[in-house]
Amino acid sequence: MIVRAIAKIGRTALFIVQEMGRMLLFALASFAWLARPPFRLFQIVKQLHFIGYKSTFVVVLTAAFTGMVLGLQGYYTLRKFGSEALLGSAVALSMIRELGPVLASLMVTARAGSAMTAEIGIMRITEQIDALDTMAVNPLQYLIAPKLVAGLIGVPLLVAIFDVIGIYGGYLVGVELLGVNEGSYWSSIESAVEWKDVYGGILKSISFGLIVSWVCCYKGFYTRMSAEGLGTATTEAVVLSSVLILVWDYFLTSVLL
């Protein structure tokens, strides 16, 4: 009984280590193929359009309401200490350092990441990936590498948009609705936000972009050959990406602070 339980734990541990190794090799092989001709610029632009441009609306919407809620919550908290003038810095620092990278990446996971997994998974099930192989076209180079690059470029750009819109959302509620002084809103941002806050946010967004595209592509590429398998792969991709974003965010924050 005990031996069986230990064996089960061992098998699970081995499976996890194996899976992690396979994921790492998957990413390394994809980046290695990126360096070899033919260079697929058109594919990268196409994926940037899908991951970046097509996620803009949902990111703007999320950013606006997040900023507005932050404005509202921040105002009522700061008013207790008579520090409403610091609302701008509270909103901007929360957005740039934490909420922008995390929430924008989670939105990209939900919108583009799940679609990436489903698309690649369907290509696997319908043998389109095998068809690429038979035509001597490497699927990692043609399908995966452009998506990884697009994630690395697209997510930081979306995070930048998220930050700006979020700060304006806080402005709308704090200044226009609740009467915080406009000058103190902007000047508190100017005095509180430092360059290291900005590059910390950029660093986070780049790593989150990689996590989303990497995990979602991997799960789609190795999906089981059934509709149920595809559903499971999509769910796993979204859950694993989201959890990894949050866990990695903690470690990165502890290093960057």
Binding site: I122, M123, T126, Q128, D130, D133, T134, M135, A136, V137
Partner: protein
């Protein structure tokens, strides 16, 4: 010539191929028959290196492709084309773009030449004027034709057909068979087809092989294959339609 020696493959803990020895004659159409789940498609995928055997060798004109990876394997694959069961057309591309795909990827031809070659192939498979459609807008038969056009466009030496008529009505299945045999006779490529279409395959194949319990149970020229006395072969081809079964009323 393709030659498989002692090929074994286990998938998901289940032995599928248990020592396949098979020689595919050059320039002929060889059909592999066998019950569903016997591993015919798995066998086909070994011939093009989509799957590697657990044991055994797969030789293509003197090269053991079971040992090849990456670029070396791709070099061998350039001599192949494959028509998949569901045609495996890229659903984000139009029919024209699907057929043009290997030309653009591998030959880097100029657009007018690509257009000329693609239109020629689409016309040969009876899809002239359909190039602008997406795979989702095509019927099953049209998808197979488009897949066939994509397989033919690079003028490969070897084409593998994985159940090319599955899911088609008898008339459409006959049309696809006629197309395959017509193209094979015209261009002289080596063709390997996995099919369940008995007795039709005896009319179009040069050679027939039967896969049973993970091994080749019989292989012979099509005319001789029908006279094989092995009970398993007789049962399969008679149930498949070679001999009419009594009708219970």
């Amino acid at each position: 010539m393709i030659k498989l020696i002692g090929v074994e493959k286990t998938l998901g803990g289940q032995p599928v191929l248990r020592g396949v020895d098979l020689e595919i004659p050059k320039g002929k159409l060889t059909t592999i028959i066998g019950r569903s789940g016997e591993g015919k498609s798995v066998l086909l995928k070994h011939m093009i290196g989509l799957l590697q055997p657990d044991r055994g060798e797969v030789w293509v004109d003197g090269v053991d492709i079971s040992r090849l990876r990456g670029k070396a394997l791709n070099e061998v694959r350039k001599r192949f084309a494959m028509l998949f069961q569901g045609a495996a057309l890229f659903d984000s591309l139009t029919v024209f773009e699907n057929v043009a795909f290997p030309l653009r990827e591998k030959l880097r031809l100029k657009d007018p030449e690509v257009t000329r070659r693609v239109n020629e192939k689409l016309e040969q498979v009876g899809l002239a004027g359909m190039g602008h459609k997406y795979p989702a807008e095509l019927s099953g038969g049209m998808k197979k034709r488009a897949g066939l056009a994509r397989a033919l466009v690079m003028e490969p030496e070897i084409i593998l057909f994985d159940e090319p008529t599955t899911g088609l009505d008898p008339l459409m299945a006959k049309q696809i068979h006629d197309l395959i045999i017509g193209m094979q006779r015209t261009f002289g490529f080596t063709a390997v087809m996995v099919s369940h279409e008995i007795p039709e395959i005896f009319g179009i194949s040069d050679w027939v092989a039967m896969l049973k319990e993970g091994r080749i149970a019989a292989m012979a020229p099509a005319a001789e294959f029908q006279r094989i006395e092995d009970p398993a072969v007789r049962e399969f081809i008679s149930v498949g339609g070679m001999m009419p079964l009594p009708v219970n009323r």
